[in-house]
Amino acid sequence: MGALITSTARVEGPAPEAVIARDIIKRAAYVTPAFLLVAGLIWGMNGAFSAAYGLAIVVSNFALAAALLTWSANISAGLMMGAALFGYLIRLALIFTAIWLVRDAAWVVMLPLGLTIIIAHLGLLFWEMKFISASLAFPALKPSAVSKESSAQ
């Protein structure tokens, strides 16, 4: 009975996934020039295009994951579990399709595309995790609207 209540209950409270995804997208915008520059220097113009495509895939993946979890958590915890698992499969399939569609395109170089996906995904995650760990460990240091207002005065 307890399990039934657990799985059908709506997850209350604000959705941190959306905030994290927005944060990651913002950080991705900061590092995009660096990725394009490195890929462009090593693999040329096509490498830069491939790196940009890889970054777009990573960012879309985060955004889609956050959107799915936020939407499903508003309905029920059970649906959130389903959305997390099937979302994982769906997102892998979407990434596969996104690469399959452009595999023969003239501007695609697979090595920078693949490397960008891995490095950007892990790099952005570690960057965000560092920020979140600091916020959780030292909540007083977490930037908030109140502290911004007080510092502006």
Partner: protein, 90 residues
């Protein structure tokens, strides 16, 4: 055994055999790499929902760490996927 090997040589040339082996290995790499993260995400989300049910006031923190955990676990599948595309297309 040698007759079988000779028959295989006659039917499938070296390039085709390499292509078949490459595709099989790439598919295996992708498929096997997706199993572990699937189990991991299932376990992670299940435990997170349990934690949220036990302590609803900590739901925000649990969801934050859950989302990061899912993304980290998914990185394993992405690495397998990149190995797949490099084996298949490069």
């Amino acid at each position: 055994m040698s007759i079988l090997a000779q028959a295989t040589e006659v039917v499938v040339d070296k390039a085709t055999a390499q292509a078949i082996a490459g595709a099989t290995n790439a598919g295996m790499a992708y498929g096997l790499a997706a199993i572990g993260p699937g189990i991991g995400i299932g376990y992670l989300v299940g435990q997170s929902v349990q934690a949220m049910a036990r302590q609803p006031e900590a739901a925000g923190m649990v969801r934050t760490t859950m989302f990061l955990g899912i993304a980290f676990t998914e990185a394993l599948a992405l690495i397998g996927f990149v190995v797949f595309i490099l084996l298949k297309f490069v």
